[in-house]
Amino acid sequence: MHSIPGRRLIMGLFLVFLLLPIYWLVNMSFKTNSEIVSTMTLWPHTPTLQHYKRIFTDESWYSGYINSLEYVVLNTIISIAVALPAAYAFSRYRFLGDKHLFFWLLSNRMAPAAVYALPFFNLYSAIGLFDTPWAVALAHCIFNVPLAVWILEGFVSGVPREIDETAFLDGYSFPRFFIKILVPLIASGIGVAAFFCFMFSWVELLLARTLTSVSAKPIAAIMTRTVSAAGMDWGLLAAAGVLTIIPGALVIWFVRNYIARGFALGRV
């Protein structure tokens, strides 16, 4: 009753459709450039690790991963830290303008990054943060803070209000209640929100590229360098691409049951 006829076939075909391009990327990252250009091979006939070796030994390459991780982690910490109290407030209290504020947050999640690229560039240049991880971390707050608030609000609402009341009767101060009782109770929710902040900051390129030039350049921007006078270094490009998929693929297992919730802004 739950599912439709031929579901195995449909699912199978769809998964193949999803995996085929990724397989081609991985396949290409293990080929030599001459093999890529000269023949069409379904698996590497002369497998090589030269592209990966180059990325891990060339500082201008691997520093890109470090830069990206730096601003992504910063952004995740900022987003969760400011979103936690707000999520509690939205979940427990009614206050002046709460609904408008909630909608305003949503509308910021939807704002096109292209609109903000130029003003951010001016703003962060003016306050001297341009080309630092802080600039990108703060810029990404525009869509990650609303997301974190929305996800965490759902989890806080799942905690019975009696727990708050009992804690306050027992003489807990608000900060102590928050850290000692509430945070452990919604630990899984914080994990999910952190994962989604991490992810959306990791996949965004336009703002990250606009706000950095040399010292904080993200890996995604460095990848465009593979176009050179000697033609495209396809193997290197593919290897760099594979390495950007790995962080997401590693942590996805832990949040597999919450994926829909996170993508739905906590509204499922």
């Binding site: 509690y88 947050l105 292209a114 130029l118 597999r256 739905a264």
Partner: protein
């Protein structure tokens, strides 16, 4: 849920308010400022009033022509990918295995494209579709199609659309799957007793249950496709010609390419306004849908449209609706 009124809650919201205001309101003010001015060379600004906005909405000018053309292309793109991704997502969600390790495996593989950086998505499709080194391009050309997304408009469009379907259908599928999972087993049992057909079960039980998540899915997909930039930019660079230049690509071209601040700012404001309006419509519909169904649930037997499917025996099971 009965929430208590407490204005002190503003102190808890204050950090969020400050952070988002700093990164949203402040930059937007500079945009408003620029949109009224023209700039020549280095930091010389001239008052231009609403001139840019007039030009923007007039297709006979260069700026207006470019804006309206890219807006049209973008709307068409959004409609096409919605028309493909929503039904496909529902079908995939209905095809999910019921239990066992395959559920987790399917979920993880489905989510995989969503976690890939957007420019890498572009890169993947670039090297997958190229006729010389890509599997897809090679196979298509070997099969006799003259496929080349670099030089042919239609091929470029097909590539960009298939790429978006590849990238985002999983989102719709995952949301629908979450909606389907919230249906109590008793609904299906009741339907079985009544001898409801597969189609009736879908129409009377599964689709209504997916309403809310589908609304969110449509909202997210419309918004994200309406501001799409990175993926088509990497694959086609907006070309061939201007055929895949969407609004964001046009905007970045004007703002960061030509450094035409006034025009870019005016375009940004109009663009943002469209997004805000659509967002508000969805938000209102979402909130109203929640309220409406609360009312419906309380007067259950009177408004139940399809008694034959047998939802009647289980009105108590109607789960409470959260406010959207």
């Amino acid at each position: 849920m009965d929430k208590t009124v407490n204005q002190k809650a503003w102190f808890l919201v204050l950090p969020v308010f400050l952070v988002v205001a700093f990164s949203a309101v402040l930059p937007l003010m500079t945009v408003v400022n620029y949109s009224m001015q023209d700039t020549f060379g280095n930091n010389q600004f001239f008052w231009n009033g609403v001139g840019w906005f007039k030009e923007l909405l007039d297709p006979s000018t260069d700026l207006g022509g470019r804006f309206l053309a890219s807006l049209g292309r973008n709307l068409f793109f959004s409609l096409v990918i919605l028309a493909i991704e929503v039904p496909l997502g529902i079908v995939v969600a209905l095809s999910m295995p019921r239990e066992g390790w395959t559920v987790a495996a399917c979920l993880v593989i489905l989510a995989l494209p969503l976690l890939i950086p957007w420019n890498v998505v572009g890169t993947i499709w670039q090297i997958f579709g190229r006729p010389d080194i890509g599997l897809l391009g090679y196979v298509l050309n070997a099969a006799g199609f003259d496929y080349n997304y670099v030089s042919n408009d239609i091929d470029a469009w097909v590539t960009v659309i298939v790429m978006d379907v590849w990238h985002w259908t999983s989102l719709v599928a995952l949301l629908c799957y979450a909606g389907l999972k919230s249906i109590p087993e008793a609904y299906y049992q009741a339907a079985q007793i009544d001898g409801a057909s597969r189609w009736a079960v879908f129409k009377a039980i599964q689709l209504p249950k997916m309403n809310r998540v589908l609304l969110i899915a449509v909202l997210l997909r419309f918004m994200d496709s309406f501001m799409i930039y990175t993926e088509p930019f990497v694959v086609t660079g907006g070309g061939p010609g201007n055929s895949t230049t969407f609004v964001s690509i046009e905007l970045v071209k004007i703002a960061l390419g030509q450094f035409d601040l006034g025009k870019a700012a005016a375009l940004s404001l109009v663009y943002n306004l469209i997004i805000l309006i659509v967002c508000w419509i969805f938000y209102t519909v979402m909130t109203n849908a929640g309220v409406e169904r609360k009312v419906q649930a309380s007067s259950e037997p009177a408004v139940e449209p399809k008694p034959s499917v047998g939802l009647k025996p289980v009105p108590a099971l109607k789960p409470k609706e959260g406010v959207a």
